[in-house]
């Protein structure tokens, strides 16, 4: 049988592609075709295909945002694995996000949360020490103190590029940690609430005072490079960045990096609930579901992790999916950030994104189909604020009205 796998062009996925021959050695009867696309195009492509019953793909690489939605739609096959696979080893937060009505719809290949990365030397220079549980107030203060633009050092680098998976991942989780929420229990957008204003104002001011030039077009990649080149004092982003910033081959500041848990606002018990995983799932339209399941088992079980470790070293194994990994001393030795990453992942609870009562699950996203569009639109409005083309109040007012409009359109009021 031949299976077609749609995947994104991330390092871990590319590595998986590279190991196809290993899979073939074990399963010579299954031919594997790869379709690698950029994340947004992939999502869009796959959505069209599934929704129209196209059957072009046998395995999809999708996020924990889509899995529950699509699972509920009946677009994905529930996954049941053999005992060897040890489903219970999965990190509970991750597993919870992939489960609908007690059925698992996606096998996590790789997972991440977010944390705070900072430069020990700069922090020291600023005369501060990182608390165990940093607040935004502290972060803001530290960032401003670390900033030295003449030396090319920005106190903090944060995502600014518009997109629901780009700047909104940060802003939404930040809003969570400020006590804001996207919707109240009647699905009414909450941008007119003070928490949002506070979040955005804080974010905008911080970027203005301590952020890099052109922050509104920076995403993960740009900030990573900035940080690696020593141009950022702090950076709050996905835990997967940990391996890159502490890899001396890539990073000029590898030995001066430390990690802390995602900040929260003083008095609000919420660390943003950023949780992301890339998962492999099988669409119901697949004609080779059995072969697909074989592949998924191969790619996401413990043996795969060990194979990658054997070939590429422990640092390069896909993280964030299994508890056992974080109990593996080899891994903990190779990955100094692992403990903090695990802590971050455990701190994220996507069933309770906000301290307020909300009708949705999620974290840095809201797990409803409309979020892609709403998130992107709001992301644009936020980016306009960072680019200095719009005020916080205007942006929030517009966000409120377009979100109301979208929600009405989607029938939430009906």
């Amino acid at each position: 049988a031949a299976i077609t796998i749609a995947t994104v062009n991330n390092g871990d996925m590319i590595r998986m592609q590279g190991l196809t021959s290993e899979f073939n050695a074990a399963h010579p009867d299954i031919e594997v075709n790869w379709v690698t696309l950029e994340e947004n195009i992939l999502r869009e492509r796959v959505t069209t295909d599934i929704a129209t019953g196209g059957g072009q793909y046998d395995i999809l690489t999708i996020g924990n945002y889509e899995v529950p939605i699509w699972g509920k739609q009946g677009w994905l096959l529930p996954l049941e694995f053999s005992a060897d696979y040890d489903v219970d080893d999965m990190l509970p937060a991750i597993r919870g996000g992939l489960t609908v009505d007690d059925k698992l719809y996606g096998a996590p290949f790789y997972g991440e949360s977010a944390f705070l990365m900072y430069r020990t030397d700069l922090l020291e220079k600023a005369g501060l020490t990182m608390p165990d549980d940093p607040t935004w107030e502290f972060v803001g203060d530290a960032a401003r103190k670390m900033t030295d633009r003449s030396a090319g050092i920005n106190g903090i680098c944060l995502r600014g590029k518009a997109g629901w998976g780009e700047n909104m991942a940060l802003v939404a989780s930040m809003a969570n940690s400020f006590g804001a929420s996207w919707f109240d229990e009647t699905w009414t957008p909450q941008f007119d609430q003070p928490e949002w204003k506070e979040t955005l104002q804080f974010y905008a001011d911080l970027m203005k005072d301590a952020g890099p030039q052109g922050a509104s077009s920076n995403g993960f990649n740009e900030n990573l490079t900035l940080f690696q080149q020593g141009k950022c004092g702090m950076w709050i982003d996905a835990t997967s960045a940990g391996s890159f910033v502490s890899d001396p081959k890539q990073s000029t500041v590898a030995d001066k990096v430390a990690f802390a848990i995602y900040p929260h606002k003083d008095g609000v018990d919420n660390h943003g609930n950023w949780l992301w995983s890339w998962n492999l799932a099988i669409p119901t339209s697949s004609k080779n579901a059995d072969a697909a399941k074989t592949f998924i088992e191969w790619a996401t079980d413990k043996a795969y992790t060990e194979m990658v470790a054997g070939k590429e070293g422990w640092v390069n194994v896909p993280p964030g999916t299994r508890t056992s990994l974080y109990e593996n001393q080899n891994y903990l030795d190779a990955a100094p950030f692992a403990a903090k990453a695990k802590e971050a992942m455990d701190a994220a609870d996507i069933t309770k994104p906000s301290v307020k009562p909300v009708p949705y699950t999620g974290g840095q996203f809201v797990a409803i189909p409309e979020f892609q569009s709403i998130g992107t639109t709001v992301g644009q409005l936020v980016a306009a604020v960072i680019a200095g083309q719009s005020s916080v109040d205007d942006a929030l007012a517009q966000a409120q009205s377009t979100t109301e409009r979208e929600m009405r359109r989607a029938g939430y009021g009906r």
Partner: protein, 289 residues
């Protein structure tokens, strides 16, 4: 020429092209029109049924709608202006006796061969990037603050990229037009005492009008549909600053997966494009004969 026999054969010869294009037009169009009156969201298959004009209403009242129209026109007009004026200048220049003419021409027309997403990627990452782009390096060299082009001047940046792609096309066609200008006409004008500028103004420019018209027509059709450059660079933002009509529809169709809304947008876009085309034919169509 005009015998009944040839006329009937001609009808037969035209037929395949007309039939396939008609099918190609009518089937998707009919489906689009049909969808535009229905609730149809891929992500929400449960909600179906007739929507009446709601999709249209929704699309037309989009807060980005008017801005998108303005941006669409700005892109079309901006790129046309740059590529036509620049194209005339470049064509005039490379028509002169210069050393290495062949190579210069090759270099000048090259951007036309670059696929739009690649062009956008190159410009975004390597040229205009505020951190690592060449433009930033130049700014730094002069001790200036690098400009974040896509944030500060999003529409201009997109116009710049698209114009970069289409200017070579214009220059190419205008160059060939220049070369077909009768040498004796130029000499006659010279004998008549016309200065170099007058010769350009009264002779060269009118001579090129047909070529310019063709450039305008073909480019307009393509420019009305620009979206890849926007998708790759600004994603329509910041805010709606660089959202044009095709991108708005793109957003509806591929981000919202709102087939009904996108269909309504498509119908609106077709209507607007036709208005532009009719207006254009009125304005410049007579140059074609």
């Amino acid at each position: 020429m005009a015998t009944r026999q040839t006329a009937s054969i001609a009808r037969l010869m035209r037929l395949p092209a007309i039939v396939v294009l008609f099918i190609w037009m009518i089937v998707p169009l009919a489906m689009t029109v049909y969808f535009s009156f229905r609730y149809y969201n891929l992500l929400n298959p449960a909600a179906g049924g007739w929507a009446g004009f709601e999709n249209y209403q929704y699309f037309l009242t989009d807060p980005a709608f008017w801005q998108a129209i303005r941006n669409t026109l700005a892109i079309v007009l901006g790129v046309l202006a740059i590529s036509v004026v620049g194209g005339i200048g470049v064509a005039l220049l490379i028509d002169q006796p210069i050393f290495g003419q062949g190579l210069v021409r090759i270099l000048v027309i090259s951007p036309f061969f670059v696929m739009p997403p690649v062009a956008a990627l190159v410009w975004k990452n390597m040229i205009l990037h505020p951190g690592y782009g060449v433009a930033a390096d130049i700014a730094k060299f002069f001790g200036l603050q690098p400009v974040d082009w896509f944030a500060s001047y999003p529409l201009f940046s997109i116009i710049l990229i698209v114009a970069w792609q289409w200017l070579p096309f214009a220059a190419l066609i205008l160059l060939t037009s220049l070369q077909s200008l009768d040498g004796e006409q130029k000499e006659a004008a010279e004998m008549d005492g016309a200065s170099a500028f007058s010769r350009f103004r009264y002779l060269t420019l009118p001579h090129m009008s047909r070529a310019i018209t063709i450039v305008i027509l073909i480019e307009t059709i393509f420019l009305l549909g620009v979206y890849a450059e926007i998708l790759v660079t600004t994603n329509g933002g910041p805010g709606y600053a660089s959202t044009n009509l095709p991108f708005l529809i793109y957003r509806a169709a591929l981000l919202n997966q709102d087939v009904g809304g996108a269909a309504a947008g498509g119908v609106v876009a077709v209507i607007i494009a036709n208005i532009v085309a009719i207006f254009l034919m009125r304005a410049v169509g007579k140059n074609l004969d």
